[in-house]
């Protein structure tokens, strides 16, 4: 059936519709966007069910069989990612309708267009089985993302321009590497390239191709030291865009790294270049430490989360390059887990900002009293980020640590544990501000505190999606065994020992 393409089509049609909706008399953009994301999620679930039942499925676009045409290939992991990403985009949109209409007067229709296009681009990256098509989809995803992130605080446009320059460089590197691969293999289909490469053996040009592609993807996923764009881009923009793109972009790019390692390049090829893997694991360890320490220095909740994200990217990159099955499982699990945790935390911050006006630490006093439900979700997200069982963050970290121990990468394991400890400090500092400071002392000299002790929660339309995101954290954590056995192991078959 056509479910694989049906993940994308409703988003595209709804995006085109949204672009002209003000001139159709009535404003139907929001229902159209929700409907499109709903159909997309439903199709993604169908793809997942198909792959769980029958293994990988292929869809030939234009009816041309690869390598002549382009094919969509879904295995269990990419199908699960499709469900996750389309579901996240839907939750975030449902939560933010009123905010979108407030923040983008006269431009809501274009906002929805860009929102749907960037989602479609990311979902396409997850679907495609063609390395050049992947680049084209990166362009769609990134271009609309730059525009979405350029709105917000005073420095948002500068931060977004910075992101555009760095992101375009990263995408160009990826394209450059694809050129190398095409010169050597004459093919662009992932499976075809993989089968040609497996007979070819390592040559300097292939090593170059691998290095350039990885470099490009590291820039796009913000691996230290290429992370410079991330904190600015996500902390300056509006909360809606940040809560969509922070869980999506880095995770989808980490997915591409994993896809390159387990599908496109032969496994012994990576093992034949231990220098690059070593560099990658060292960079990842550095990213974890730098991200965690930089997060400690922040005085703003959203910037703090951005630096935690830099550390999380280190987890994913390190696990992918350690080179054993446990660590790769940990990486894949962590891509899923981190997407969910980031979504929960950013959505909670979005709620807090909508009530308190800013995510600065000074504005968080008494939050547990005034916004108990939002804070409950925030605590769940934070606990998952720290790695408290049974939340999903714990299990992925467990796999990553045991994988790195097996491979003897003690530095990486150490960095991982250190950053988890720093996360404890980070989040308990927030909890302390939100719980103990303000609200309690009624005789405080600073005025405004007794009002904060009154419950002042956001509208239920914002709380329900947030609660759903937080509960999925627990659900994914509890079903880790199933996910590892059925989703991740099936996708890893035969690729890594």
């Amino acid at each position: 059936m056509h479910y694989q393409i049906l993940v994308l089509l409703p988003l595209l049609f709804a995006a085109f519709f949204a672009a002209i909706s003000p001139w159709l008399g009535r404003r139907l953009e929001f229902p159209a966007a929700v409907l499109a994301l709903g159909v997309s999620l439903w199709s993604a679930i169908q793809v997942l069910l198909q792959t769980l039942a029958h293994g990988p499925v292929t869809y030939l676009l234009g009816g041309w069989s690869p390598p002549w045409g382009i094919a969509f290939v879904a295995d269990t992991f990419s199908a699960a990612m499709l469900c996750l990403m389309s579901g996240m985009a839907l939750l975030n949109l449902l939560a933010n309708r009123e905010q979108i209409e407030r923040e983008f007067p006269e431009k809501t229709h274009v906002f929805y267009t860009l929102y749907l296009l960037t989602t479609a681009g990311h979902l396409g990256i997850l679907s495609t089985g063609d390395i050049f098509n992947l680049y084209v989809l990166i362009e769609v995803a990134a271009l609309s993302g730059y525009a979405l992130l350029s709105w917000g605080g005073a420095r948002a446009q500068l931060a977004s321009l910075n992101y555009l320059l760095i992101g375009s460089t990263g995408a160009s590197f990826y394209l450059f590497g694809i050129g190398y691969l095409y010169v050597k293999t004459g093919s662009l289909n992932m499976a075809d390239v993989a089968s040609i490469l497996s007979t070819m053996g390592g040559t300097p040009a292939l090593a170059g191709a691998f290095a350039i592609i990885m470099l490009g993807l590291w820039v796009k996923m913000a691996l230290f030291p290429f992370h410079g764009w991330l904190p600015g881009a996500y902390s300056q923009s509006t909360n809606v865009s940040a809560a969509l793109l922070a869980p999506m972009t880095t995770k989808v790019m980490a997915y591409v790294v994993v896809r390159m390692l387990i599908t496109v390049f032969p496994t012994d090829f990576v093992a034949s270049m231990p220098e690059l893997s070593t560099i990658a694991v060292w960079l990842a360890s550095a990213a974890i430490v730098v991200g965690a320490l930089a997060a400690l220095a922040q005085r703003d909740l959203r910037r703090m989360l951005c630096f935690i994200l830099v550390a999380e990217v280190g987890y994913m990159a390190g696990g992918a390059f350690i080179g054993n099955r446990t660590a790769m499982t940990g990486t894949m699990l962590h891509i899923i887990a981190d997407a969910l945790m980031t979504l929960t935390l950013f959505m909670a911050v979005s709620n807090i900002v909508s009530k308190r006006g800013s995510p600065a630490f000074g504005d968080l006093k008494g939050l547990f009293r005034s916004m108990p439900f939002t804070m409950a979700a925030f605590v769940l997200g934070a606990m998952s980020m720290i790695g408290v069982p049974p939340l999903c963050g714990f299990f992925s970290k467990w796999y990553l640590v045991s994988g790195s121990m097996q491979a003897g990468q003690y530095v990486f394991a150490g960095a991982l544990i250190l950053s988890s400890l720093i996360n404890v400090i980070l989040f308990f500092r927030i909890f302390e501000i939100c719980f103990f400071e303000g609200g309690q002392e009624h005789g405080s000299h600073e005025h405004g505190h007794h009002e904060e002790s009154v419950m002042d929660e956001v509208h239920w339309t914002r709380l329900v999606p947030l609660a759903a995101a937080a509960l999925i954290l627990i659900a994914v954590g509890l079903s880790t065994g199933y996910i590892v056995d059925r989703v991740i192991a099936a996708a890893l078959t035969g690729s890594i020992a």
């Binding site: 431009k107 860009l114 004459g186």
Partner: protein, 276 residues
């Protein structure tokens, strides 16, 4: 820091030069790139797609899905420009705006009013207005119809010539830009309104995706123009040929209106009012 960057760039350059030594020779007929996939395109594209131009058949048929997203990239760029640059109608950029009374030719200066209520009796003129150069405007008037016909020619003959939707759209957009340069921005907007631009840009991508979707509804795969052939009861190859023409038309529409949209937004500081 600069020195480190310089060293890194030099090292990367040396590595790249070293890796290119491993490439097959330029134009080598035995290189993998000219042996593997391209053979099918060269040998069979005519009988499979009825399109004499191999480039067009690869672009819009074999790899039509890439082209679809490239068109969406153009559309996204236009939408992103609108999202970032477009100012609200009430917001004026300049301190003074000039209006000419149509009946008498008198020019009045209105401080901070970019839209007068008396549009009927007055027409707005650019603040740095100078009389039209008769040579420029006459030459453009002669040139523009030919450009537009040529754009349609490039579009319709994409199958035979090195052309197609992207080029046709650019030539068409260039004709409107020439009109804006030889007259002024409002002169173009009167002929090609903002609303029309949005609708055409969205229509172009919808035509492309819709053509693929029609194939889907006949049971064929997305973008399989064979489904189109079945629907219209024509030979398979003609269906592919028709499909390519349809999607190229969509590309041309989107590219043309997106380019004009970006030009207008950038040249008028987002007001779509005056400036160049």
């Amino acid at each position: 820091m600069k020195a480190i960057s310089l060293i890194a760039v030099l090292l990367a350059g040396i590595a790249l030069v070293y890796t290119t030594s491993d490439f097959p020779a330029w134009g080598d007929p035995e290189s993998p790139a000219s042996l593997h996939v391209s053979n099918l395109y060269i040998e069979q594209s005519y009988e499979k797609t009825h399109t004499p131009n191999v480039v067009t058949s690869v672009l819009a048929d074999f790899r039509g899905f890439d082209t679809m997203f490239e068109t969406i990239v153009v559309f996204t760029a236009a939408m992103a420009c609108f999202f970032i640059l477009r100012r609200s109608r009430e917001e004026c950029v300049l301190e003074h705006y000039y209006y000419r009374h149509i009946a008498t030719g008198l020019v009045v200066r209105m401080p901070g009013a970019c839209a007068t209520p008396t549009q009927g009796a007055f027409e707005q003129i650019d603040s740095d207005w100078t009389p039209q150069d008769i040579v420029v405007s006459t030459v453009c008037r002669l040139l523009i119809p030919f450009m537009q016909i040529y754009a349609f020619y490039v579009l319709a003959h994409g199958h035979y010539s090195p052309g197609g939707g992207f080029q046709a759209g650019v030539v068409m957009a260039a004709s409107y830009l020439l009109l804006a340069l030889s007259h002024d921005l409002r002169f173009v907007i009167a002929r090609f309104s903002e609303r029309l631009m949005h609708i055409l840009a969205a229509a172009g991508v919808t035509i492309y995706v819709g053509t693929g979707f029609i194939a889907l509804t006949t049971g064929a795969n997305f973008l399989d123009y064979g489904g189109l052939a079945g629907l219209l009861r024509m030979p398979l190859a003609s269906g592919h040929s028709l499909g390519i023409l349809l999607v190229e038309t969509g590309v041309a529409l989107t590219v043309c209106s997106a380019l004009i949209m970006i030009f207008k937004l950038v040249s008028s500081q987002g007001t779509i009012n005056e400036g160049l």
